[in-house]
Amino acid sequence: MDDQKKMAIIATKGTLDWAYPPFILASTAAALGYETQIFFTFYGLQMLRKDLSGLKVSPLGNPGMPMKMPFGPKWFRGINWNMPNAIQSLVPGYEIVATALMKQTIKNNGVASIPELRELCQEAEVKFIACQMTVELFGFDHSEFIDGIEYGGAATFFEFAGETDICLYI
């Protein structure tokens, strides 16, 4: 066995906020010299789409998410606009607005965008594997996903994961 460190991640979430941990950890691991692989399954497949504009955040049922404005004077930015779930669910476009505000906050803080992080992962030769079973289950087509990924199942994941130093489920 070679002495290069290895990391495997299972990415299962399909929202803008949860797209960060797998891509941040994978790109950093690659920079540190780890051979890295991400297995995208269920909602995680959304992160492999050519068009990532469908990734959104939802404050609904998420009491941990601060709702703060990314513009205006400091006192205004400090206000937490969290609404009761019942109100959030009735307001059309609530998620769209929350996502737009989140993207602005991300930009203001010098945090990379998801397309940028994904590209950095690919440049660093992080291997992306899409769960073929989920592709079929959700009625997706390979043409909806970016090039340079592999399609496989659980056994494919274990082939690499069994050799890793770090293995994460996100």
């Binding site: 941040i24 790109s27 950093t28 920079a31 540190l32 010299g33 803080n109 010098g110 945090v111 990379a112 950095l120 660093a124």
Partner: protein
């Protein structure tokens, strides 16, 4: 301190300063020194950890106001 290349990572947040540094080091030859300027307070610990794990030597790190400067010598 003398350096061969400089990386401006000001305004960038985790993990971008490290990723840009890794990229810049790829363009350096062994023994060359890369200077990095960052504004991310988390980068102080991160660059030390990066150097320790990759074998590139962190020659010095300094803090001035809200800016952090690092000198890394390529392995």
């Amino acid at each position: 301190m003398d350096f061969d290349k400089e990386l401006d990572a000001r305004g960038l947040n985790c993990p971008l300063p490290i990723l840009r540094c890794k990229k810049a080091l790829n363009d350096c030859t062994s023994g060359q020194v890369l200077k990095i300027v960052s504004t991310d307070p988390g980068s102080v610990k991160d660059f030390a950890a990066f150097a320790k794990q990759t074998g590139n030597e962190l020659l010095a790190s300094a803090e001035a106001g809200s800016e952090y400067t690092f000198f890394i010598k390529k392995k």
